[in-house]
């Protein structure tokens, strides 16, 4: 009852061809090296086999040869390194305008929240041709977001955000795996990524009735009382949050940090860890009082504040992240 079995994973993202090209290059080069060694071993074993009248000829070694077979492999290795690093650079640098999907992993499921407010479990719908950035955290242990067809993987950690991004290129349903061992049902922590034609995606989205994530965040912002200190004018007891996302922040201790996702997260959960210059450490902690989903909504809201319509800051929905050319 074997299905038809391809021996190669589907290629469904802009990264897949890059990774495959390097992999094939590595296969060819190391295949040749392996063959070289195998042929030498077999050839010597046969050619110089023990037989009457044949004597071993003692050879001490040769520095020239040793240098040759250190230096040549070394340069070959540097190509492996450089090419691999070049791909990794792209994988680790999400495009500016990428749409964002918040992801919460837990034993043993994946929860996704689109900026438009759609929530999904173990299934993620994305359209062809958009850059999608996953902003991920875990509620318990370490998991790992792995989509073989996209050739991406990123561990998902409790207590912080990690990021992965991809650019789907081909419609279809692809495996989503948890790749970091996470307990009993690790192998059950699987799902699928559904890549759709843009118009199908629009139709799927069109269901409506969802509250965009930033709107949920805005509601929480007032319900939890954040708004009493973080006012839109500069008169509050806390700093104004409009437009701070991805901007430098000067801290009380003289350091300057960038207000990225992890900074926003930490500032809500452990406000005293990094105190903004000119403010007192009076903000209460929200650790343990809000869920990861609520935290994501708050972060999404803060990111949406002071956002220009052209949108150079973050917090974009998939619909808004339409490439400029379209």
């Amino acid at each position: 009852m074997f299905q038809t079995m391809p021996l190669w994973p589907a290629r469904a993202s802009s990264m897949a061809n890059n990774v495959d090209a390097l992999y094939i290059f590595l296969l060819v080069v190391s295949g040749m090296m392996t063959l070289l060694i195998f042929i030498m071993v077999v050839f010597f074993a046969v050619r110089y086999r023990k037989r009457p009248g044949h004597h071993a000829e003692q050879i001490d070694g040769s520095h020239a040869l040793e240098i040759t077979w250190s230096v040549i492999p070394f340069f070959v290795f540097m190509v492996f390194f450089g090419w691999g690093a070049w791909i990794y650079f792209q994988e680790r640098k999400p495009p500016q305008n990428a749409a964002e999907v918040y992801t919460v992993a837990k034993q043993w499921m994946w929860k996704f929240e689109h900026m438009e407010g759609q929530r999904e479990i173990n299934e993620l719908h994305v359209p062809i041709g958009r850059d999608v950035k996953m902003i991920m955290t875990s509620q318990d242990v370490i998991h790992s977001f792995f989509v073989p067809a996209f050739r991406i993987k990123q561990d998902v950690l409790p207590g912080r955000y990690t990021v992965a991004w991809f650019h789907p290129t081909k419609a279809g349903t692809y495996h989503l795996y948890c790749a970091e061992y996470c307990g009993t049902q690790h192998s059950g922590m699987v799902g699928s990524v559904v890549v759709m034609e843009p118009k199908d995606y629009e139709a799927w989205m069109g269901g409506g009735g969802n509250q965009p994530l930033a709107v949920t965040g805005e509601r929480l912002f007032s319900e939890l009382g954040c708004i009493t200190c973080h006012r839109a004018d500069t008169q509050g007891r806390g700093p104004t949050l409009a437009g701070i996302y991805n901007k430098p922040v000067l801290l009380e201790d003289g350091r300057t940090v960038t207000a990225d996702d992890n900074y926003l997260r930490e500032s809500i959960l452990q406000p005293t860890a990094k105190v903004v210059n000119g403010f007192k450490p009076i903000m209460p902690t929200f650790q343990g009082q809000i869920s990861d989903e609520q935290l994501n909504a708050l972060v999404a809201y803060v990111k949406s504040l002071g956002q220009q319509p052209s949108g150079q800051t973050g917090g974009k929905s998939i619909a808004a992240a339409r490439p400029q050319t379209e």
Binding site: F44, A45, K50, E57, Q58, A85, H175
Partner: protein, 548 residues
Amino acid sequence: MATAVIETGERETYLNKEYGIKSWLLTVDHKRIALLYLMGITFFFFIGGFFALLIRLELLTPAGDLVQADTYNKLFTMHGQIMVFFFLIPAVPAVLGNFLIPIMIGAKDLAFPRINLLSWYLYMIAGVMMLYTIINGGVDTGWTFYTPLSTEFLNTHVISAGLSIFVAGFSSILTGLNFVVTTHRMRAPGMTWSRLPLFVWAHYATSIIQLLGTPVLAITLVLVVAERLFHLGIFNPALGGDPLLFQHLFWFYSHPAVYIMILPGMGIVSEIVCCFSRKRVFGYQAMALALLGIAVVGFLVWAHHMFVAGISLYAALIFSILSYFVAVPSAIKVFNWTSTMYKGSISYQTPMLYAFGFIGLFTMGGLTGLFLASLGIDVHVTDTYFVVAHFHYIMVGGMVMAYLGGMHFWWPKISGKLYPEAWGRLAALLVFVGFNLTFFPQFVLGYMGMPRRYWDYSHSPEYQILNVLSTAGATVLAVGYLLPMVYFLWSMRYGKPAPDNPWNAAGLEWKIPSPPSTYNFEEQPVVTWEAYNYDELDKRAEEVPVAH
């Protein structure tokens, strides 16, 4: 000389000097301690192997149908822990190293015979703690103990497993200490550093890693146990800790540990290749330096296990490039072994077959290591079966092959008996074929995306056929491993008595009787020849023709 067959029962040897359990349990003779280790290690090898077979049987079908998910997780955890800490790390040093290092350098024993016995007791105590863990229901952290899963989320026997490995670590440290001091202080007159067999150099390099690296593992395990007991918040982010700190500490030991496992194997292969090619090793100096180079640079690459774990982009770049630096000395070694065969006079006895296997499989394991060190590739294949295949090529294809090769090579010396050569060759062939059938398909599986540590893959039935091949290979491999066990035991009773130097090999261990007497040498040997002086040996053998 090689014809001198010993009348059994006449001469006093380390084996017949004393009888009775007590004479073994209280021995300080390095050779007897080596045999004590051999029993423990063989026992754990078969336990670990049994778990492996169950894992392979479970993966025969996509559904998780043979054992429960939790049981499966325990199987791969305990398979890994037992194989790594109770077999691979001690196997060659504690058995062959223990037996041979003093003899190879012309000493009566190790520098600290009692500490040597103590390390065996520590190993056994650790082993009993591991058995206690298994019998009480096992542990399912994965051999890597990743936090916070291991510290806060599992209710299995993490503490006894952790402490067991902690104790095993001390056994390993003491063995390393003993070898370092022995190599420095106990060499016979004339046995200069540049005359040491590469086997000794390999153990010297290994011992340094054991001494410097193992304490870090011990500390890490203590922290895991403490966090589990007292919720300290070292690794658990919910308590303010950092789970990546654990990974850094763990791999700071566990990457060098992979060299603890492979370097002694490299030492064995150097001895075998020279002997069966009748040649001096090609580039002695480079071979010795490469061992030390690997040991040192091996300490600087640990975070290549963490490329997707959440380390910074630039840290990843550094650890990637450094990983390629370790590969250079490994490449030198492979080329030099091969060149040693050039213009040799090569025969294909069992040990040499294993050495051939080692060279080929270590090459493939090393080269796939280069895939993993390449960042863009690692992101896709890390934590898949590709990694599983990579390290099994090195540790099973390389290290276990070398261990078996070494056992065959020195068995006549250790036991005083010859093993049956035809069976030996058959087993070597089975191991080679079974191994490749088991692990080659896993490279393909890994690139296709099959994650490691999956109990059930019914959502991805396209992985089945390769898994079936792999399981089939594992059964062949199992037969290949059982055979030597059977005929070694058989030969102890029925084997032909071994001459002192059945291979006409170089090295002090072949100049003393098989099996040796308790103090190895009747009088202090003085070394006047270089290592691997096969030309002289062969010349002498021609003058005194050997009757075979």
